[in-house]
Each structure stands twice: as C-alpha cells, then as structure tokens.
C-alpha cells in the first residue's frame, strides 16, 4: 500500500497538477457556481423560502406569461425550418454545383454574423417597417412588427450557422459513391435522397437543434421588432430588469435552458455514433457541368445575398442620411452620438471589451486545451475538465447573464467587486463563447505529434517552454481563428451583457437598442455600421494573417532547396 502510494506520488508532475487544478477551479467558479445560484433561485420565493415547483406553477397559471412559451416555440420552429432549407440549398450550391462567384457568395453569407441581432431587426424595420422603403412603395402589405418580423430576423440570424455547418458537411464527398450511382444509372434526385442526404443526416439534426436553440434564446430581434408578441427572452428581461422579480426570472432562465440541453444531449449522442465515412481511399467528387441546375442555384444564391446586401445598404442609407426616410441628403451627423445612449464611449468600451475577451479568451482557451490534450495521467480530472469545456455550448447568453447577477451581485461573495466592471463583461463573454474555440484548439493540438512532449521531457525542457516554442507557434492559424471568433462575437453580443453592463460601462450593441427606443434610427444605423466595419476589418486582418503564415511556411520549404 505504501509502495503503491509512493509510486503514485513519484509519478505525479506537481506543476502540471497545479496548472490543471487551477484552470479547472477557475472554470468551475465562473460556470458551475452561478448556475447553482440560478437553480436555487428558481425554487424559492421572494423571501427565500423553499417552494418547490411553486414558481413554475405560478408561471404557467398566468396566461400572459405562459403564452410566451408557445410563442417562442412557434417562431423558433418556423425560423429553423427556413434556415435549414435555405442553409442547405446555399451550401449545396457552393459545394456541389459549378456556379460562378462562389467566394463572393461564401463571404456575403457571413454578413449577419458581423452585426448584432438587433441590427438584423433594425434593417428589416428600415425596409419593411411602417415607414420602410418597400412598405411605402406598396410592396409589403404585411404587419412586420410581431411574429413575422421575429421569424424573418431569426432566419437572418441563424442562416449563416446553418450554411456553415452544411458547407463543412458537404465540402468533402466520396466521389466513388456518385460514380457508382452513375454507373447504375440512378437519376439525380435519387442520388440526393439516397447518397447525399444519408451522408449528412447527423448534420441535419445538429443544424436543426443549433438554429432552434439560437432562435429560442435570442433577445435582440424580439426586443426591436417583437411589438406585443412576447417571447421567453424578452420576458426574462422584463421580469429581471423591469420588475426585479428575480425568482420568476430564474424560472424563465431554466426554461430557456431546455432546448439547449436537449440539443447538447442529442449532439453528444449523434457525435458518438457519427464515425467519419470519408476514408483515405475516398476520391474527390468532380461536379459535372449542368446549366439548368447551375442557373437555379445561382439565382437562389443571388436572391439571398441580394437580400443581405439590401439590409446593409439600408443601414448605410439610414446611417448617412439627414432624416431617413423623409430626408435622404448626405450627412455625417449621425456619428455624433447623443450622450444619453452612451455615445462614442459605448463604442470604445465595446472595442475594449472585445479586445480583452479575444486576448484573455484565446490565452485561456489554449492553455485549457493544452492541459486537456498534452498531459499524461490525471485521467479523472481531465475527463471532468473536458466535460466542463463543452457545457457552455448549452448555455444561452441570457442564462449566463442572469446567473452571473445572482452569483456575483451577492455582497457576501468575495468576487463581488467585479460586478458592474469591465471584468465581469469579459468573463461572461469568454464563458459564453468558450466551447467553439476550445474545440478548435483541442482539434489543432491533437494533430501535433504527441511525442513532442516526450522528447522535451527526455531533454529536460520544461512543458511551458515546449508550449511556447513548439505547440503555440505551430497552432498559430488556430490561435488567430479563435481570437477572431471571440472578438467578433463580443462585438455583437447583447444577451449576456444586457444584464451585466453598468451605467458607467455602456457598450455599443446595447447603445443601439437605446437609440432605437429613443427613435434615433439614424444613430442606431451609424453605430451598427461602426460595429460591422470593425468586424469586417478584423476578419480581413485574419485572412491576411492566414495568408502570411501560409506564405511563410511555403517560403521555408522553398528556402535553399
């Protein structure tokens, strides 16, 4: 027994254990503790008395509140349906046809990612609202505010996600399957239903859940365009920020978690079964010319991108004109933001927040992934760490925001001092967007030879040195990607930070809602443009960076050969 313990202790690498424990503890404090506060609030009354499911019964018995549940499911289902269909057709067009301008279509499809969801709704108001261009021209005889507006906004919001996931799934195809089908004389539509769709059925399920969850928990679009059509995300905001009914807020918060948890579970189940069907012998699919097919897809893609570009154009016109839509003469004055909404400070705060989120987030994610992938031993600890790392995927921003209030706003919490500061905004963003970068980082580290660490150990090189000199430089493309992901998302996020910003630290995405509430459409559009421009700039820098790395590596190859 003593010998066993001695063996165990001597095998331990103390510094590695310390790093591992420190990282996982940090993550537990910002992830598990706040969630625990949220759940404990949902089952007690205002006085702190345990009431079991009492709050839930009250919630579902009040018709004004419970109708929101049906409304939310309704708009989520419809927008998911459209996003899945449109996303699939769009991705199919870019991978399995020979249409022109694929690069253009690909980047244009990403436009909605670069702007907050409130701005999607805002753009719709410019075009189809009561004074919208199309409405005034008599081309839009429908009521935008309410259900219809929310559904269209959520389609815009979720479309890029659906498109990207389908694109990845369709990008690689085993050409042999299609050649075999051709040899058997199978018609085109049957190839779609019997070869293509079965191959991506797991992606279809995933896309469905991702889109549904995003639409289900989105706050921005219903806030701007929802009118009297209530959804859960606006309810939680009204309960917490309007009526200070924290227990009811917690109840709605737990309801918001349901589709995300369902999606999370399905995703785990699906991924464990989804063994890659592409093997080394797969041949690339060669798409044959077919002008009928290509014309259809080209027109479809043009319509989608045309719509996105129209939205952006509306922002430009709105942001750069005297008094949209009555006086369209050119002016810069909308960029002189009024102080009440936070003004230019809000934009600067957003930049600071996004910059810090990207910087600290990238470092934290990468160290976290390195500890999970490149340390031997501590199996149970690492398994726990890996489980934690995926959990934020199931947490809507609203839920993170409200649980942060419960946890950090408690005066007895020693971390209470970060409440109302930039720190809590950055921490909530890192947590909210943690999982996708984590998967990128761990995927990238997995590809590096695991013997790099063994060789270093044998040469007495400390792990941190190997990390800095070998693993990190080799992962530079992934690091840039993670940085960009954090930055862009922190620029556009509303959901988590809407509960956490303070009067001193206003941020741009929230300033837009305030401008819109105050009827300052010109300024709202101008602020949206500033966000869009910054995100496009960051994306461009990323592309340039990746190109430079590629060039540098190939230069190394040519060097002296």
């Amino acid at each position: 027994m003593r010998e066993k313990l001695r063996r165990y202790l001597s095998g331990l690498r103390w510094s590695q254990l310390f790093a591992l424990v420190a990282t996982i503890t940090t993550f537990t404090i910002v992830l598990i503790f706040p969630l625990y506060s949220l759940f404990s609030k949902a089952f007690v009354d205002k006085g702190g008395e345990f009431v079991g499911l009492g709050n839930y019964i009250t919630y579902f018995q009040s018709p004004a509140l419970s109708i929101s549940v049906m409304n939310t499911i309704d708009i989520s289902l419809w927008s998911t349906l459209f996003s899945v269909v449109f996303g699939f057709i769009y991705a199919y067009a870019l991978t399995r046809t020979r249409i022109k301008a694929k690069a253009f279509f690909r980047y244009t499809a990403l436009i909605p990612i670069f702007i907050p969801t409130i701005v999607h709704a805002l753009g719709l108001v410019y075009l189809f609202g009561k004074q919208g261009i199309f409405t005034r021209a008599g081309l839009f005889p429908f009521e935008l505010y309410g259900r219809l507006g929310i559904i269209i906004s959520e389609v815009i919001f979720t479309f890029p996600q659906a498109f990207l996931m389908f694109f990845v799934a369709l990008e690689f195809a085993d050409g042999r399957l299609y050649e075999a089908a051709d040899a058997m004389g199978i018609p085109g539509w049957k190839k779609l239903t019997h070869v293509t769709l079965p191959d991506i059925k797991f992606t279809v399920i995933n896309v469905f859940f991702v889109c549904f969850t995003l639409a289900f928990t989105d706050f921005g679009a219903p806030k701007v365009i929802g009118g009297s059509f209530n959804v859960l995300a606006t309810d939680i905001y009204k309960q917490v920020a309007g009526q200070f009914n924290f227990n009811m807020g917690a109840v709605v918060g737990t309801l918001l978690l349901i589709p995300a948890l369902a999606s999370f579970t399905v995703d785990r189940l699906v991924n464990s079964k989804n063994a890659s069907t592409i093997n080394a012998k797969a041949t690339t699919l060669i798409v044959k010319p077919n002008w009928k097919r290509d014309s259809f897809f080209f027109i479809f893609c043009s319509l989608i991108t045309g719509f996105f570009l129209t939205l952006v154009t509306a922002l430009f016109i709105g942001g750069l004109s005297e008094n949209y839509p009555y006086n369209l003469s050119f002016t810069w004055k909308n960029f002189l933001f009024s102080r009440s909404s936070g003004g230019m400070d809000a934009y600067v705060n957003s930049l600071e927040m996004a910059g810090l989120t990207a910087l600290c987030g990238t470092i934290f994610v990468f160290i976290y992934a390195y500890l999970m992938e490149k340390i031997s031993g501590f199996e149970n600890l690492r398994r726990f760490g890996k489980l934690l790392s995926i959990l934020p995927l199931a947490l809507p921003g609203m839920v993170i925001g409200i649980s942060f209030i419960f946890f950090f706003n408690n005066p007895s919490n020693p971390l209470n001092f970060i409440y109302g500061t930039m720190i809590i905004l950055v921490v909530s963003n890192i947590l909210h967007y943690f999982s996708v970068p984590y998967l990128t980082a761990s995927g990238c580290l997995k590809k590096l030879d695991k013997e790099f660490e063994s060789v270093s150990d044998s040469m007495n090189i400390p792990r941190w040195k190997t990390f800095l000199r070998v693993s990190a430089p080799l992962s530079l493309p992934a690091i840039l990607e993670i940085f960009m992901y954090f930055f862009v998302n922190a620029m556009v996020t509303v959901s988590a930070v809407v509960f956490l910003y303070s009067a001193k630290i206003k941020i741009a995405s929230i300033a837009i809602t305030h401008m819109e509430e105050a009827g300052n459409f010109g300024q709202a559009a101008a602020m949206s443009l500033l966000i869009l421009m910054m995100n496009v700039l960051i994306r461009l820098l990323y592309e340039v960076g990746i190109k430079a790395i590629k060039k540098h590596t190939s230069a190394k190859e040519r060097h002296e050969t």
């Binding site: 010998e3 001695r6 063996r7 001597s10 095998g11 690498r13 031997s376 030879d449 013997e451 790099f452 063994s454 060789v455 150990d457 044998s458 040469m459 007495n460 090189i461 000199r469 070998v470 430089p473 080799l474 190394k556 190859e557 060097h559 002296e560 050969t561």
Partner: protein, 331 residues
C-alpha cells in the same frame, strides 16, 4: 557488467496486462533489440525505461542506481521516436540546440560545437539550416538521432526508428546507426517488430510476446536455437510440424533433398515453386500426413533437379538442425 536493468516490471491498462513481470539486464556498450509483434508490450517497456510511463510494480536500475522514480530528464538518455518528433518550426540546427540550451553551458560556442559534432557524426552538416519537411525521411531520421546524441547521453533509446522508411533507406541506415553506436560505444535499446533489423543490428535480442519475454540471446542463438515455438515461427521462416506427439521445427534451408529414397526419409510432393533469384523456395505437402513443408535450395540445384508441380521429393531432416518442443504451443 550490467548497465541497465529492469526487475519484474508489470504494467496494466484497465484490465489488460501489457507487461507481466519483465526482468532484463543490458550490458554497457551493448545494442539490444526488443523484438516482438505489435501489441506485445515492447514499446511500453521502452517508455518505462525512459520514465515516460510509470510501471505498476517492479524496478528500473540505471548504472546500479534505482531509477524507478526518477523523472525522464534525470535519467540521462537520448531518444528517437518512430515519428522522429522533430519540431517542424525549427531548423535542423535549432532542433538540436533546443535541447542543448537546457543544459547550463558556459558559452555558446561550446554549445554550437557540440551540435556540429553531432551533425558531423550523422553526416548532416550541409543540412543544418533546413527545416524538417525539406528533408527526406532518412535525413529526418538522422536529425532525430543527432538530436538524441548531442546531449552526450549515457544511453540511447530507439523506438521503431526505421519503420517509417522504405526498404533501401532502411537497409543503409541500419548499418549507419550500428556504426555510430559502435564508435560511441553507447548502450542502446532499440524496439522493433522487424526480425531482420534485429538480427543484423543487435548484440543481443529480447524476444517478447503477449506481455512476456520468450527468449533472450544473441541473434545466432535466437535463430538457430529458438527457445519456443513462437520464437521459431516469428524469426525467419520455420517449418513447424507434429511428429510422435512432439512439435518439431526446422528451417527451410536445412532440409536436405535426397536423390534416392532411404529408410528414414519423408516423401513430399511439390505444390508451388517460387523463384527468388539466388534461391528457389519449394512449397510441398508430405505424402503420409499432409503437413506443409517449405524448402530453400540454391536455384542452380533446383534447375538441375528439373522440378515441376507434382514432382516427388525425398527429404531428410538433419538431427543437428531439428529443434523440438515437448508441447505444441499455439504458434
């Protein structure tokens, strides 16, 4: 004298036993090959000697000291992996210096000289500014070797160092590694699944199978006196057959073809003839009990005998080449 020792090393992964009481002893300056099929535990044994993995029980001794609990860096060895694990973002020179920098050298010139010396030894002085991906597989392998020996380690561990290379390069590098090892007089353990590699390079071979040791001996002993049916079958080609309740084994080149039938011969019929250049391999089936036998004879002789499919052979198994085992194992 023995320089490296393992005593009763046992290792389990979950319920599977990977090493079951492994005791070995390796002398100073010797090149020992650990040979066995994949999954026999040979790489795990090497990694335990390296300190990259911890044994569940048993001890490792380096130069007489108990090293069981020493971290890898304190064991003073150089290691070459199957994948070479060269840092792709560093040149050949930088790869070697990366490890050297960790030792507290008094001046940079000395460090550089040390690296250059290692490169000269593997004949890679001209490639020092190249990146690993610009090098051929063989050159990458030699870079890894240079990196391992630059630190002047007390012993060298090679984990399947040649298996990623094509046949011709492999044959040449065998000799190179062996001559470098001999010139440095460095104690070396090499893990391999390639019996030809082990036979040509090693002073002694440790044959492993199913988490245990089958035989330890010189290449000569292993080849001519395999201690078990497994070793007999694993090293080279061996005819294994049952005869009066004992398992008999004989090498194809040791079976004699008689021109006349005699009292103790075995009669067989040729089934396939394989021309292999200098030698010709005959596959045959014995007439009385249908065992398969294969024979290697010089091609000239095969031609003289005018053999064809179905030809009858009268064979003799010389006593001195016949190895017998009491019970037939699963080999």
């Amino acid at each position: 004298m023995s320089f490296l020792e393992t005593k009763n090393i046992t290792k389990r992964y979950h319920s599977q036993t990977v090493l079951n009481g492994i005791t070995t002893s390796i002398n100073k300056g010797e090149l020992v090959c650990i040979l066995g099929p994949s999954g026999c535990g040979k790489t795990t044994l090497l990694r335990i000697i390296a300190g990259l993995e911890t044994a569940d029980s048993g001890q490792v001794f380096i130069d007489g000291r108990d090293a069981t609990h020493l971290p890898p860096a304190k064991r003073n060895y150089g290691i070459v992996f199957q994948s070479y694990a060269l840092f792709p973002n560093m040149t050949v020179m930088e790869n070697i210096l990366f490890g050297l920098q960790q030792k507290k050298w008094t001046n940079k010139a000395e460090m550089k000289a040390k690296a250059e010396e290692a490169l000269r030894l593997v004949d890679l002085e001209d490639a020092q500014d190249k990146y690993p991906r610009q090098l051929s597989g063989g050159m990458q392998q030699r870079t890894a070797l240079a990196r391992a020996i630059a630190l002047s380690p007390a012993f060298l561990l090679l984990d399947e160092p040649l298996s990623a290379l094509d046949a011709k390069v492999r044959a040449r590098l065998r000799q190179e590694i062996r001559s470098i090892q001999l010139s440095l007089g460095i104690t070396t353990i090499m893990v391999t699944h390639d019996q030809e590699e082990a036979l040509t390079m090693a002073d002694r071979i440790i044959v492993m199978n199913n988490a245990g040791i089958e035989q330890i001996g010189t290449p000569h002993e292993i080849y001519h006196h395999p201690a078990s049916a497994f070793v007999a079958d694993f090293i080279g080609t061996m005819n294994v057959y049952s005869h009066h309740g004992v398992t008999c084994a004989i090498r194809p080149e040791n079976i004699e073809i008689l021109s006349q039938p005699s009292a103790h011969d075995v009669t067989a019929q040729v089934t396939t003839i394989e021309f292999k250049g200098p030698m010709t391999r005959l596959y045959s089936v014995t007439v009385n009990n249908d065992s398969e036998l294969c024979l290697d004879i010089p091609s000239e002789r095969a031609q003289a005998l005018q053999l064809s499919q179905g030809s009858t052979l009268f064979l003799r198994m010389p006593e001195e080449h016949l190895v017998t085992y009491p019970v037939k194992s699963d080999a």
